[in-house]
């Protein structure tokens, strides 16, 4: 019964969203009551989709296998958490989560959008409703999660064991919140194009939504990367796999959007480009959804490959992206170009940021789509892997990282590059000193690593230098500097912290890639191996029963010269319901570095192949992402986003129609 109610709720939500879209696009500038209707509609859509989602969760929790997707992707012996996460561990359920976040974003705008002009609010909600209607409809007509089975199977087929992990509880919801969150920026951009009103106030209204989506996406990607790192057991944290790229492209474009919206907000310039980026960012999210959900790729993310679904998503993709760009082409020329600035200025620096981020996005896009297109047109199978991306992406990132610390120091309109260089000299000197020191300590081997570290230090120190400089440390009494530091606007802190986080991630990437040590060896209980100063001893094996698996657990001791001894337990698990084996790596963290152990199958003589990595400073990669996200949170609490209704600076230009 609950399942039918959920099904009905989803259908009703789609119907309401369709009516909202039509009413909003027709009547956004006609009546105050249209905006009111759309706000109520947004609340209703959210409550209904939430009810549908709750019905699915309930069916999974009580293991109601009359629900087809529960039968296919759950099992009564699964722990409760994994029963719940199984809801989105499949194609149909994950789409409901997708739509839930879409309506969640809509209701957030409806609730917190009191300071938006009524007409803009109506248009934003109308476009958002159109998205809900399209993707809700897609869910119901091609991927209905509420299909029932009769007769009811006695037991389910179990969720893919690789997905039975806490990661599935965190990674998809965060990633979707980021991906789908950019729909709001898209809706704002379309609303601006339709109404013809785009100004600094628009950029300010869009900013919190961009920030929110960006920080969720940052966390989602970082979490996904860490999950792949510990679960897949290959010891890698990024594979340039098409599905990873699918989430990375909206991140790059969204990062560019965050920066270009800043220029628009502060200087009323780059308006056309900012609108374009808003459309591109969500289009890339949609493209990601298409790549992952259509079955054109095969990966852990691809649950089902039903060609009709792929075609429908492709059609939706073409309709939304094509429609948005057609509107853009029609209306962009009517936007007036804003403030003037010299090439060397804050604006100029932010344009360079956008240029490099956009180029990097394009490089990732080409690398991701090229094999698909080549296969479609010539039938030739190729793979574009890490070598392509390492070459193109890192070369494009180098100038971005070199120039990054200059940006926040430059003044708006016209900057003085010599003065800025002088103020950054301390950070530059510290970065060079640090890189040389590490070069000497690591045995003075000629490699690219010291240069990579130099870049990371430069970005991290340069970000801190801005705070130090603005607080006036060294130029005045210490207590006065501290008072000035505390008094700095939060925006200054969030910029510096975000850039510092990026520097930390770069340092982690360089160190973990350059100084990683790996050994593969056959070990019998009692054997010891040495890796990067750690002595790893194989103590023995035991059999452990989990809730729905049997595990062969290896007991290892890692001891250091300093006398510390820690136990590691890599496992080989056998999931009984689906008959699938998995390996669970054991990871031990020492400071920022990690020791990573993977246990292989037993040979006939009882020995085991053991693969061990030492990954120096690898945790800095994710720590940097956390720091960037924290900066996003800090920026969200900035006063200028909370204080009452920002008013339009200029008189309203007439809508160009």
């Amino acid at each position: 019964m609950a399942i039918e109610l959920g099904h009905f709720a989803l259908i009703l939500a789609v119907a309401i969203s369709a009516i909202s879209a039509v009413a909003g696009l027709w009547g956004w500038n006609r009546s105050e009551r249209v905006a009111l209707f759309l706000r109520q509609g947004a609340v209703l859509q959210f409550l209904l989709v939430a009810a549908a989602f709750a019905a699915l969760i309930q069916a999974f929790v009580v293991s109601d296998f009359s629900l087809a997707i529960a039968y296919q992707h759950s099992h009564s012996a699964q722990p409760l958490l994994f029963k719940i996460t199984s809801v989105w561990g499949n194609h149909e359920g994950s789409l409901v989560l997708w739509v839930l976040i879409l309506v969640g974003m809509g209701v957030a705008v409806a609730m917190f959008g009191n300071n938006l002009p009524r007409e803009l609010l109506a248009l934003v909600l109308a476009v958002q409703s159109l998205l809900v209607a399209a993707f809700g409809g897609f869910t119901i007509f091609t991927s209905n999660p509420f299909t029932r089975l009769s007769p009811v199977p006695p037991e389910g087929m179990e969720l893919n064991p690789i997905l039975q992990d806490i990661g599935l509880a965190i990674h998809p919801p965060l990633l979707y919140a980021g991906y789908v969150g950019f729909s709001i920026c898209f809706s704002f951009a379309i609303a601006a194009l339709i109404s013809g009103r785009i100004d600094a106030a628009w950029a300010r209204w869009v900013r919190p939504w961009t920030l929110l989506s960006w920080l969720f996406l940052t966390l989602g990607i970082a979490m996904g990367s860490y999950w792949a790192y510990y679960e897949l057991g290959w010891g890698g944290w990024w594979f340039w796999d098409p599905v990873e790229n699918a989430s990375f492209m909206p991140w790059l474009a969204g990062t560019a959007l965050l920066h270009s919206a800043l220029v628009m907000e502060k200087r009323n310039a780059l308006k056309i480009w900012t609108i374009f980026l808003s459309i591109i960012t969500f289009s890339l999210s949609l493209l990601g959804t298409f790549l992952v959900r259509s079955g054109v790729l095969t990966s852990v993310h691809t649950f089902a490959s039903d060609p009709t679904r792929g075609l429908v998503i492709l059609a939706l993709l073409a309709a939304f992206i094509g429609g948005a760009f057609a509107l853009f082409a029609l209306r962009a020329s009517s936007l007036r170009v804003g403030g003037l600035f010299a090439p060397i200025s804050r604006e100029g620096a932010l344009i360079l940021n956008n240029l490099f981020l956009a180029t990097a996005t394009a490089a990732v896009l080409v690398g991701t789509l090229y094999p698909l297109l080549l296969d479609a047109f010539t039938g030739r199978s190729i793979s574009v892997g890490a070598p392509f991306f390492s070459l193109t992406f890192s070369i494009i990132m180098v100038p971005l990282l070199v120039l990054l610390p200059f940006g926040p120091f430059l003044a708006w309109k016209r900057g003085d590059i010599i003065a800025v260089t002088q103020r950054l000299a301390g950070a530059g000197g510290a970065a060079i000193f640090g890189a040389i020191l590490i070069f000497a300590l690591s045995g003075a081997q000629i490699s690219l690593a010291p240069f990579g570290l130099l870049l990371g230090f430069w970005v991290a120190f340069g970000a801190m230098a801005e705070l130090i400089d603005r607080a006036g440390f060294g130029r005045m009494a210490l207590s006065l500097s501290f008072r000035r530091l505390v008094g700095l606007p939060r925006a200054a802190f969030s910029t510096a912290i975000a850039h510092f986080g990026l520097g930390v991630t770069v340092i982690g990437i360089v160190a973990a890639s350059a100084w990683e040590v790996e050994i593969v060896s056959t070990m019998n209980p009692g054997d010891s191996k040495t890796i990067a100063g750690y002595t790893v001893t194989f103590d023995g094996l035991e059999e452990v029963r989990g809730e729905n698996f049997i595990s062969e657990t290896g007991r290892f001791t890692a001891s250091t010269a300093g006398g510390s001894e820690r136990q590691l337990f890599p496992e080989r698990r056998f999931y009984e319901a689906s008959g699938t084996p998995t390996t669970e790596a054991a990871i031990e963290t020492y400071g920022f570095s990690q020791l990573y152990l993977q246990l292989g199958e037993a040979a006939e003589d009882g020995s085991h192949v053991v693969r061990a990595w030492h990954k120096p400073y690898v945790t800095l990669i994710w720590l940097g992402c956390l720091i960037m996200s924290a900066a996003g949170v800090l920026s969200l609490t900035d006063r200028r986003l909370r204080v009452g209704a920002p008013r339009r600076a200029a008189p309203r230009p007439a809508p160009a129609e």
Partner: protein, 147 residues
Amino acid sequence: MTRKQKRLSIIAGLGVVLALAVTLILVALRDQIVFFYSPTEIHEKAVAAGTPIRLGGLVKEGSWVKTGEVNEFIVTDGASELTASYSGILPDLFTEGQGVVVEGTMTDAGSFAATNVLAKHDENYMPKEVVEALKANGEWQREGAGG
């Protein structure tokens, strides 16, 4: 500088960077892509030793031999076969008779040295390239199991 000159200098700068980026991408696409071959194609095209490639096919029944950490197995597409070796822990779902994609290079001795065995994430998954390679040799019988 006048307004026009300023804008031109910015646009010229952007143009130069974009041109460099496009060149970079094209060069990388020419040199850094990895081709996929079936054992038959490898024999036909005489792939040079040392070029990174992907090899796909079925793991031949009864061919998987483990010596310590070194695994040797034969990859077949029905028409021809090729011996591959891999040192390390094979993915959980690697078994004889199943499809496999391995990344690596041909050795001078004419066997395949794998640096990476691509993991399968679920037991129903058969790499698309493998399905096509098998179809090309008339070895494909299963219905609808392809990825």
